[in-house]
C-alpha cells in the first residue's frame, strides 16, 4: 500500500481573481492578478519558486499551447514549467503536479496556476462537444453540449428514483437557490444575485430537464497556489493548510459502452472519493468532511456528487437538500463561495478556485463573518471533467 500524500505538503499562499465576463481582461492579466495575490499571501519572492505547473484547457481560445504562456507572462527565470490539461480537472492537476514536485523533494517551493479566458468565443456555454473527443467520436457521437450530457443524468436520476419532472426539478432548484444565496455574498463571484425556487422552475429550458438556473455560468478567471513541504511550512506562515488527499479517477469506458452503469451516479467520483478518504484517513465522510466545493457545473451534478462522495445515502440526497444540510449554516456546507453556479467555470482555474475557498475558510479568513464556516477541520474539492459516462474526476482534501 502506497503511503499517499497525506500531510506531506502544505499550502502557504493562494490567490484568486474575481470571476466573470471580464471583457477588459486578457488571460495574461488574469494570470498576473492571481499570481500577485498568491505571492503576497505566501510572502515569498519569485526567485524562491523552484518549479511551476500551469493549467489551461481551451488553449485555442486564449493563451496557446504549452507552458510558455505562464513563464513569459510572469517572467519566470528559466525554471521548469509544465502545462497540465485534463478537462475540468485541469486546475487540480496543476495543483497535484506542484504538490508531488515538493513532496518528492525535487523542489522546496512550487507554484500551481490555472487560468481560462472563455468569453472570447462569441456565444454562451462552452465550445466543443464531439470535436473535443477526437476524430472518430466527432463523426459518430451525438452533437451534444455539456448541458445536454448532464441533462441525461438528470433524466436517468429521475427515472431510477421515481421522481416526476416536477419533483426532480424542484429538488435541483433548491441546489441552485443555495448556491446563489452564497454567491450573492461573495465579492469574487460572477453571479451575485439571489434567486427563488419559483424563478428557477420557470426559467427557460436549456437541455430538458435542466433550465437556465440549473447550469453554471461561463466566465473568465484565474487562481493560484504556492505549496511547500509540510516540514518547511511554518517558516512561511503560522497557519499553513495541509494536503490530506489528492486523487484522480478516470472512466474505463464501461459506463458508456457496457450496460451495468445505472446512469444516476458518477462512477469516477464514487471511486475517487473512496481513494481520497482512504488517503486522508477519513472513515465517515458525512461527519468528518466539514465543507466542500464540488463540481456543480449543473445542479444535477452537485446532487449526485453528494451521494457519490457519501455525504448522502444513495437515492436520498433529496431529503438532505430539503433539510438544508448543504446550506452555509447547515451541518455540511457545500459551495460556500457560490460554486461554479455563481463563479462560472473557467476550466483551468476552477479546481484552484475551489481550493482557495477551502483554504480561506480553514484559516478563518472568509471575507465576511456571514460567509465564515465555524471551525472547519477538513475541506474537500471535486472536479468532474468530460461527460457523466466518460470523464475525469479529481478530488482534493485539505485541512489544518
Amino acid at each position: 500500500m502506497a503511503e499517499g500524500i497525506r500531510d506531506k505538503v502544505a499550502i502557504i499562499g493562494m490567490g484568486c481573481t474575481k470571476f466573470g465576463e471580464l471583457w477588459d481582461k486578457s488571460a495574461e492579466d488574469l494570470m498576473v492578478d492571481s499570481f500577485k495575490e498568491c505571492m503576497e499571501d505566501a510572502g515569498i519572492e519569485k526567485k524562491d519558486i523552484g518549479a511551476a505547473w500551469f493549467g489551461v484547457h481551451f488553449e485555442e481560445q486564449s493563451v496557446g499551447k504549452g507552458a510558455t504562456p505562464l513563464s513569459l507572462t510572469l517572467k519566470l527565470p528559466f525554471i521548469p514549467v509544465t502545462r497540465t490539461e485534463n478537462f475540468c480537472a485541469t486546475g487540480t492537476e496543476a495543483f497535484r503536479g506542484a504538490c508531488y514536485g515538493v513532496a518528492s523533494g525535487a523542489y522546496d517551493i512550487a507554484l500551481a496556476l490555472g487560468v481560462e479566458k472563455l468569453k472570447d468565443t462569441g456565444y454562451g456555454g462552452l465550445p466543443g462537444g464531439p470535436s473535443l473527443m477526437g476524430t472518430k467520436n466527432a463523426l459518430i457521437m451525438p452533437k451534444l453540449t455539456a448541458p445536454g450530457a448532464f441533462a441525461m443524468m438528470a433524466t436517468r436520476y429521475f427515472s431510477v428514483y421515481g421522481l416526476n419532472p416536477e419533483e426532480g426539478k424542484s429538488m435541483l432548484a433548491k441546489v441552485s437557490v443555495k448556491s446563489h444565496y452564497n454567491g450573492a455574498r461573495n465579492p469574487k463571484a460572477h453571479l451575485r444575485r439571489e434567486v427563488t425556487e419559483e424563478q428557477i422552475m420557470k426559467a427557460p429550458i436549456i437541455a430538458w430537464p435542466l433550465g437556465l438556473f440549473d447550469c453554471c455560468g461561463v466566465s473568465d478567471g484565474s487562481a493560484a497556489a504556492i505549496v511547500t513541504r509540510a516540514d518547511m511550512a511554518k517558516k512561511f506562515r503560522p497557519d499553513p493548510i495541509h494536503v490530506k488527499a489528492l486523487q484522480i479517477a478516470l472512466s474505463s469506458g464501461e459506463e458508456l459502452m457496457y450496460t451495468k452503469w445505472d446512469g444516476a451516479h458518477v462512477e469516477t467520483t464514487s471511486r475517487g472519493g473512496k481513494s481520497a478518504y482512504e488517503e486522508a484517513g477519513v472513515k465517515n465522510p458525512r461527519d468528518e468532511i466539514s465543507m466542500a466545493e464540488v463540481h456543480d457545473c449543473f445542479s444535477i451534478t452537485e446532487a449526485v456528487t453528494m451521494e457519490d462522495l457519501q455525504f448522502s445515502p444513495r437515492g436520498k440526497v433529496k431529503e438532505d437538500i430539503e433539510a438544508g444540510r448543504f446550506n452555509i449554516d447547515g451541518p455540511q456546507p457545500v459551495q460556500p463561495d457560490g460554486g461554479l453556479k455563481c463563479f462560472g467555470h473557467p476550466i483551468g482555474a476552477s479546481g484552484l478556485r475551489m481550493l482557495y475557498e477551502m483554504y480561506k475558510q480553514l484559516q478563518g479568513k472568509a471575507q465576511s463573518p456571514e460567509r465564515q464556516i465555524k471551525n472547519p477541520k477538513l475541506g474537500l474539492t471535486h472536479n468532474l471533467g468530460g461527460f457523466p459516462p466518460m470523464n475525469i474526476v479529481s478530488i482534493a482534501i485539505i485541512g489544518l
Binding site: G129, K136, L139, I140, P142, K143, L144, T145, M152, A207
Partner: protein, 480 residues
C-alpha cells in the same frame, strides 16, 4: 429463371399538405391541389432513403448473399464519389460486390432493375440489390414543388427463391427535353406542362407498353396490375383507356399521398402492387423519362414470404404533418437560417479517417468479445467488460440491425440545430452494447426512458467548404 426475391420501400415521416404549400406560395400564382407530399427530414437525402429501403428489403436476408448494389436516382449528392458505394457501406455489404449509379433520368429506376435482371441471367447468377431513391430539390413556388415527393424503393433481384418472375422487357429512348438540370445547377428547369403531357408522357408510356405487349404477344387484360407513374392524373387514366385497360387494373400512383418520387416512382408503385399481389398475378411496370422501360412480372407462391416488410403501405400510414413551409425551406437549406455562432463552427472531415473507420461510422459495426460475448460499439481491441478485459479477442459485430431501448435522453436547446431541440440519448442494444446517438424522427415529448428504438442511417452534415456530405447512424422510435 430470374426475377424479384424481395422488396422494400421507404417514405420519410414528414408530409407537407398541399394546402400548407399553397398558403405559402399562392402569391406567386400557384394553384391549390389535393393531397400531400412526403418530405425528407433535414437529416435525410437520396442516400439515406435508399439505405432505409434497402434495409426494409434485406430485412431477413443475409447481407453476404448480396453481390451488387445499383442505385438509381436523379438527385445524387455526389457527382464524383460513387453514391451506390456509400449506400452499400451503410448496408454493410461485402466489398467484393459490383456497385453502379444509374442517374440522369427518372427512368433510371427501371433501367437499373433491368440491368440487375440481366446480370442475374448471366453465368455469375448474381443477387443484385436495386435501390431507387429521389429527394429532388425544387425551386420554391415552382409546379415541381407541389408535384415532387421524397421516397425510395428497393428490390432484390436474383435467380432463386423468387416472389415474382421476370417475363420480358421493352424500352424506348428519346432525348426528350421536358426537364433538365445541367452540371452545377441546383434546380431543374421544365418546359411547358402541355408539351410534356402531350408529346412525352401520353406518348412514350403507351408506346413502351404496346411494344412490350406486341413483342411477347400479351394481352393488356391479362395483367392484374399495371404500374406507371402518374404525372398527370387525367392523362394517367386516358393512357390506360387507349391501351384497352380497365381503371381497376391501374396501380395507385401515390401522387396524393407521397408525390412523384422520380426514379423511385415506378418501383415504389411496383412494391405497393407486390404487397397486394396473389400468386399467379401478372404485373406490368413502365417508367417515364427520356422514353421509358416496360417490364412484365408474374407473382409466385413465394410472395407470402415477403410479408412483414414496411414497404409502401405501412410507411404511408406512419406520418407526421410538417406544419410549416418555412421549416421545409430551412430543412432544404433554401432559406439561410441563423443557428447562432455555434452553428458557424465547421466540420472538416478527415477522409483518410473516414475510410479507415468506415465500418464504424457508415456501417455501424462494433465488435463482440469472443471470450465473454460482450458486444461493444465502436469497435474495441480491449474488451470493455471489467470482468474480462481480453485484448484482441474480438470479432466484427453489426449494430445497425439491432433494436435498442432508450437508457436516457435529453432535448438540447443549446446545440446548434436546424430543428431544435436536438434530441439525443444513450441506447442500450438488445443483446448487449451501449452508446450514445442522436435521435431523429421523434418529438421530445414522446421520448421516454425504456422506449424501443431502431437505428437509421442519416445525413450528419454538409460541409459546403469542402463539398462533403457526412453520414452517420441515429436512433429513432420504431416506425410503426
Amino acid at each position: 429463371m430470374v426475377g424479384i426475391k424481395s422488396y422494400g420501400a421507404y417514405i420519410p415521416r414528414y408530409r407537407m399538405n398541399h394546402n400548407t404549400l399553397f398558403m405559402a406560395v399562392a402569391f406567386l400564382g400557384s394553384f391549390p391541389a389535393p393531397g400531400e407530399n412526403a418530405v425528407a427530414n433535414h437529416d435525410e437525402d437520396t442516400l439515406t432513403m435508399a439505405a432505409a429501403a434497402g434495409i426494409d428489403c434485406l430485412s431477413d436476408a443475409k447481407r453476404e448473399m448480396v453481390d451488387g448494389l445499383y442505385l438509381a436516382t436523379t438527385s445524387q449528392p455526389y457527382l464524383v464519389r460513387q453514391n451506390s458505394a456509400v449506400v452499400a457501406t451503410a448496408l454493410d455489404l461485402q466489398s467484393n460486390i459490383r456497385t453502379a449509379d444509374f442517374i440522369g433520368s427518372t427512368k433510371s429506376g427501371t433501367t437499373a432493375l433491368l440491368s440487375a435482371l440481366d446480370n442475374a441471367k448471366g453465368e455469375t447468377s448474381s443477387n443484385i440489390l436495386v435501390c431507387a431513391s429521389d429527394c429532388r430539390l425544387s425551386k420554391p413556388g415552382s409546379p415541381q414543388e407541389a408535384l415532387y415527393g421524397d421516397g425510395a424503393a428497393a428490390l432484390l433481384v436474383g435467380s432463386d427463391d423468387l416472389i415474382a418472375t421476370f417475363e420480358g422487357a421493352y424500352s424506348v429512348s428519346y432525348d426528350f427535353p421536358d426537364r433538365w438540370r445541367a452540371s452545377g445547377e441546383k434546380f431543374e428547369h421544365a418546359w411547358e406542362d402541355r408539351f410534356i403531357r402531350d408529346s412525352g408522357y401520353g406518348q412514350f408510356i403507351a408506346e413502351v407498353i404496346s411494344g412490350l405487349l406486341k413483342k411477347y404477344n400479351l394481352n393488356i387484360k391479362d395483367f392484374a396490375k399495371i404500374v406507371y407513374p402518374g404525372l398527370y392524373a387525367r392523362e394517367h387514366g386516358a393512357i390506360a383507356k387507349r391501351l384497352g385497360a380497365e381503371p381497376g387494373q391501374l396501380q395507385d400512383t401515390l401522387l396524393t399521398t407521397v408525390g412523384d418520387t422520380g426514379s423511385a416512382s415506378p418501383l415504389m408503385m411496383l412494391v405497393a402492387a407486390l404487397e397486394d399481389a396473389k400468386p399467379g398475378d401478372k404485373i406490368l411496370v413502365a417508367s417515364f423519362g427520356d422514353g421509358g422501360d416496360a417490364m412484365s412480372f408474374q407473382v409466385t407462391e413465394k410472395i407470402k414470404s415477403a410479408a412483414g416488410r414496411r414497404a409502401v403501405k405501412q410507411h404511408i400510414a406512419s406520418k407526421k404533418d410538417l406544419a410549416s413551409y418555412e421549416k421545409y425551406l430551412a430543412f432544404r437549406n433554401l432559406a439561410p437560417m441563423d443557428l447562432g455562432m455555434r452553428g458557424e463552427i465547421s466540420i472538416k472531415t478527415p477522409m483518410s479517417a473516414l475510410f479507415r473507420e468506415r465500418k464504424v461510422i457508415l456501417s455501424l459495426r462494433g465488435s463482440r468479445c469472443k471470450k465473454c460475448g460482450t458486444p461493444q460499439y465502436p469497435y474495441q481491441r480491449v474488451c470493455v467488460n471489467p470482468d474480462c478485459g481480453a485484448i484482441d479477442q474480438m470479432e466484427d459485430y453489426r449494430f445497425s440491425d439491432k433494436r435498442g431501448v432508450i437508457f436516457t435522453y435529453t432535448g438540447d436547446n443549446l446545440a446548434a440545430s436546424i430543428d431544435p431541440p436536438s434530441v439525443y440519448g444513450v441506447v442500450d442494444f438488445e443483446g448487449g452494447g451501449r452508446f450514445w446517438f442522436d435521435l431523429t424522427d421523434c418529438d421530445l415529448d414522446s421520448v421516454k426512458v425504456g422506449m424501443p428504438v431502431e437505428m437509421t442511417f442519416r445525413k450528419r452534415y454538409v460541409d459546403e467548404s469542402s463539398g462533403v456530405h457526412g453520414y452517420s447512424w441515429k436512433a429513432a422510435p420504431i416506425r410503426a
